[in-house]
Symmetry: C2
DNA sequence: CCTACCGATCGGTAGG
DNA sequence: CCTACCGATCGGTAGG
């Protein structure tokens, strides 16, 4: 009945990464503001104040999580797009990367979206900038496809929002134990995205 | 420099609806937990404790907002679907209603999504039930279209999630002053939804 | 509708 | 990594 969740003798050493991981889990399941430093410590078998040996503030924990999330998403999108090829191929790869991240890093994506307003300045503005960069990345592919005539004319901004939003939604309902495996999920979402820009995916394309 | 925002003499009478409206605005812009009863009162020109003449708790304010939101959405979906007709027509009307609500009631939709975990039981479970009902409503239309052969075979559950998620996203970025008017926005989203179930919207359908 | 206030919570620091 | 604790916040009640 101690406040410690784990026995001192068997407790693994506390590291910054362990603190961030415990914070992530609790921020995702119960929210940033409701989670206390004591809660995070308890998950690691220590008291709240002990965490300050590894991090400087609770806010820093949240900032770490959302920065890592956005940098990872942007890097994945960059890899998806850089190889070039037809716009349809680049769009498929970018959407698959987007969906794959939101399915495999549900907690990060969820926290990054829901706790945006829990960030203090200037972190919040920096994150919003990264999100804009990310949105512009997928929009550019759509605009390419429109400009080359590959995609029927569409409102690239609207479609990019719709594609990103539906992919972000995956983080809210996807469960690894569920009926969908991640590969077919990513493929299906990319299919939907290609249809949204006007392509018939039952035919020849990628 | 008083804590009151409005002068006592010109302040309109405080009503329950006024309290809910003020709470909605602040829950949307700053979050449920950060908003204090004193904040809500200040927006109406009164002190925090005075609000308890009109509401019984802060939690009740949130519950009022999310229940109204879900009931309104479900009623709008019901109206969109009840007239019958081809599945493509029903799907278009349901998506248009969905998008229209999220564009015109941004704050309600935003709070209803972000603050789900700020609800205490049993309210939270009741709201989750209403959300399931809503999702099943649009999924049923898609399944109808698949069963009748009107839509090419698609995973109805997946597509219904994607369509609802992209519509909910509208609440996060839409601004009435922006470049899109609500009618064309709703139309475009319904177009995308029809494409997602495999229809070619450049042709004959609705 | 007000002031005064209770009770509880929590991030972070002091000082081992 | 701990206990003790400070300072501040806030929902809700008492009693006008």
């Amino acid at each position: 009945m101690s406040a410690r969740v784990k026995d001192e003798k068997t407790r693994p050493p506390v590291s910054r990464e362990a603190v961030v991981a415990a914070a992530l889990r609790q921020f995702a399941e119960r929210g940033y503001r409701v989670t206390t430093m004591a809660d995070i410590g308890a998950a690691l078998g220590v008291r709240g104040p002990s965490l300050y040996k590894h991090v400087t503030s609770k806010q820093e924990l949240l900032a770490d999580i959302v920065f890592t999330t956005m940098r990872t998403l942007i890097a994945a999108q960059h890899r998806a797009v850089e190889a070039g090829g037809p716009a349809a191929v680049r769009l498929r790869r970018a959407v698959e990367a987007h969906v794959r991240y939101h399915a495999t890093h549900r907690e990060q994506a969820f926290v990054g979206n829901r706790e945006l307003d829990s960030l203090t300045e200037p972190t919040r503005s920096q994150i919003l900038d990264l999100r804009r960069t990310y949105e512009h990345g997928i929009r550019a592919v759509i605009e390419d496809g429109c400009a080359s005539g590959e995609f029927p004319a569409t409102d690239a901004r609207l479609v990019s929002f719709a594609i990103l939003d539906m992919g972000m939604g995956v983080a809210t309902w996807f469960r690894a134990e569920g009926e969908h495996d991640i590969d077919s999920l990513a493929y299906s979402y990319a299919d939907m995205a290609l249809r949204m820009v006007g392509l018939d995916t039952r035919g020849r394309e990628s």
